[in-house]
């Protein structure tokens, strides 16, 4: 259990990062031009009404005091009210977080399912035709714009074949799943090309390692050498790659949710930016940033679990 000691003190290192994140979101959001009170009131905006709204949301206080309130509320688990939706930002995010998390988890899972076999075929036939084919495809796949790939998949599977819904999000579980197939496939295809490249590279190294040679010398069949020794060891860099790419993944979901009109946090963020809904932009950015930190933490734990040699 000694190896897991970092779980206790690592979160302390996150505190300055989270603090910095809160400061940056706060400053960024306050720099967005346009008066949210005016946006809220629209045509009904009179100077008195604007002053009233500004007082109600604390927008008339000095900036440093607003930040202090922001931190104080954050400590109490409050992120203010959405000006547009008129409900608590955290409650609003709670209603939108499920599609986003489902989308990310399913996409990662699917991309692993795609990447492991491809990388394995390439690495075990190093220099051969399958290797070149996989490398070519994965190199090309890195350059696929997710928004365009999404539209191409819609053309193929929804318009031509008509087997999955075009956009939106379902009510019950099965319906939701049907709506998530294309979005997940979009992200998974983009992600798996990065993942395949990394997995292939580490598998090539691991296949030539002393460990694999020793296993072969003991008369172990090549397939067992691969699945028992090579694969687990080559998963470590892949796990870290996924953790590093979580930011990219979240960016991908923002775009993909917009293309497929999925009511998740990404779509919420884009709309909030267009409508200058300060509190929502702030809340979503905070949640995304904390999620990134959390995922990196989980990746550390996973790395230690997979590979007993790693010490953090």
């Amino acid at each position: 259990m000694h190896r897991y000691k970092f779980i206790l003190y690592r979160p302390l290192q996150f505190l300055p990062v989270i603090f910095g994140v809160s400061l940056i979101t706060f400053i960024l959001v306050r720099l967005i031009p346009g008066d949210p009170a005016r946006v809220l009131l629209g045509a009904r905006s009179t100077p008195a009404a604007i002053a009233n709204i500004r007082a109600q949301y604390g927008l008339d206080e000095p900036l440093w005091l607003q930040y202090f309130y922001f931190l104080k509320n954050l400590a109490n688990g409050e992120m203010g009210k959405s000006i547009l939706y008129k409900i608590d930002v955290l409650k609003l995010i709670a209603t939108r977080i499920e599609p986003t998390i489902t989308l990310i988890v399913c996409s990662v899972f699917l991309s692993i399912l795609i990447a492991i076999p491809l990388a394995a075929i390439a690495a075990r036939n190093r220099g051969g035709i399958p290797d070149h084919a996989v490398r070519l495809i994965s190199t090309m796949g890195i350059g696929f714009p997710p928004f365009w790939l999404a539209l191409m998949l819609i053309i193929l599977f929804s318009v031509k074949l008509g087997i999955v819904p075009v956009s939106g999000y379902g009510e019950n579980f099965g319906d939701k799943l049907a709506h998530l197939i294309l979005p997940c496939l979009t992200i998974a295809l983009c992600l798996s090309s990065v993942l395949t490249r990394s997995l292939r590279a580490s598998m090539v190294v691991e296949l030539q390692s002393d460990l694999a040679t020793a296993a072969r010398a003991r008369g172990m069949p090549e397939s067992i050498v691969f699945w028992r020794h090579v694969l687990p060891n080559s998963l470590v860099p892949a796990v870290n790659l996924l953790a590093v790419n979580i930011g990219w993944l979240i960016g991908g979901t923002v775009v993909v949710e917009t293309v497929f009109a999925i009511p998740g946090m990404g779509q919420l963020l884009v709309r909030a930016i267009f409508s200058r809904d300060y509190m929502v932009v702030q809340g979503v950015a905070m949640v995304f940033a904390c999620g990134t930190v959390l995922v990196n933490f989980l990746a550390d734990i996973l790395t230690v679990t997979i590979d007993p040699r790693v010490k953090l």
Binding site: I24, M140, G143, P145, F147, M152, I155, G251
Partner: protein, 283 residues
């Protein structure tokens, strides 16, 4: 003897080319797009912006190989002109983060201490944000447009370069020639930028090519969302967005601009991989 010598040189050249196939292929693709961008007025068959009501949504044909859009504009011509904007996005979007990150990373790694700690914490915080989220917020502040995109890229993108260079600097500053340069009384600036940086930069140059792919995809995505290049300008991401309403009837409006992004990105990736092989840099 002389023929034999020439023969072996010939073998050497073709073997060199064979080993550098990725580099050559990447250069060819990038060269093609650069040519398209420079020669756009000469090679584009039609005006990229002028609308033509008689030619709405024409499928790919001999006269319009990639078809026309809902305003009757030739897609091929728009893609050729679009190369100007998208190449510009990739180059400028990489150049500023590269410069800023290299300078800050050099200083941070060379001096260490409090400067290094401050930069590293700042990098941690910026990396905690999903890239696109931070970029969208900055663009929301500055207003839509390419200039905002470049500023956002410069503010956010430097961190990767700074990290790469810093790691190299930490190793190189203890090397013999660095110590020799110090004992010769050279200034810090001279040691950092004349002696150490040239040895540290190869990894960043290779990385800048994969970064160019990301920048290109981000720029196109931002334009697709309506926050970057504004219509009627022909940019590939904008073109994809314009074709979205017609995907069930006129697929060619979205297909070809997206393919252009894929091929250009492929060129950058190949060039980067090939450069990595030549410079002996492993990613």
């Amino acid at each position: 003897m002389s023929t034999g010598h020439a023969f072996s040189a010939k073998i050497g050249w073709s073997r060199w080319l064979g080993q550098r196939l990725t580099l050559v292929a990447g250069m060819a693709i990038l060269g093609l797009f650069i040519f398209m961008a420079i020669a756009a007025p000469m090679i584009a068959p039609y005006d990229p912006i002028a609308q033509n009501g008689d030619l709405r949504l024409v499928p790919p044909s001999f006269l319009h190989p990639f078809g026309t859009d809902n305003f009757g504009r030739d897609i091929l011509s728009r893609i050729i002109w679009g190369a100007r904007i998208d190449l510009q996005i990739a180059f400028i979007g990489v150049a500023f983060p590269f410069l800023i990150g290299t300078v800050l990373g050099t200083i941070s790694g060379y001096f260490g201490g409090i400067i290094d700690t401050v930069f590293m914490r700042l990098i941690d915080i910026i990396l905690a944000f999903p890239f696109l989220v931070l970029m969208l917020s900055i663009i929301a502040i500055l207003g839509p447009g390419l200039l905002s995109f470049y500023i956002a890229m410069a503010l956010v993108g430097w961190v990767s370069y700074a990290r790469l260079i810093r790691t190299q600097m930490l190793v190189l500053k203890n090397s013999d020639y660095a110590v020799a340069a110090v004992s010769l009384g050279f200034s810090n600036a001279r040691i950092m930028f004349r002696h150490l940086l040239p040895n540290a930069i190869a990894g960043s140059v290779v990385f800048s090519m994969s970064d160019a792919v990301l920048v290109l995809l981000n720029g196109a995505a931002i334009s697709y969302l309506g926050l970057g290049v504004q219509p009627p300008l022909a940019e590939w991401g904008v073109m994809v967005a314009e074709g979205q309403s017609f995907i069930s009837t006129a697929w060619w409006i979205t297909l070809f601009p997206g393919l252009s992004i894929v091929v250009l990105a492929f060129g950058f990736s190949l060039f980067g991989d090939g450069l990595g092989e030549v410079l002996g840099v492993r990613e």
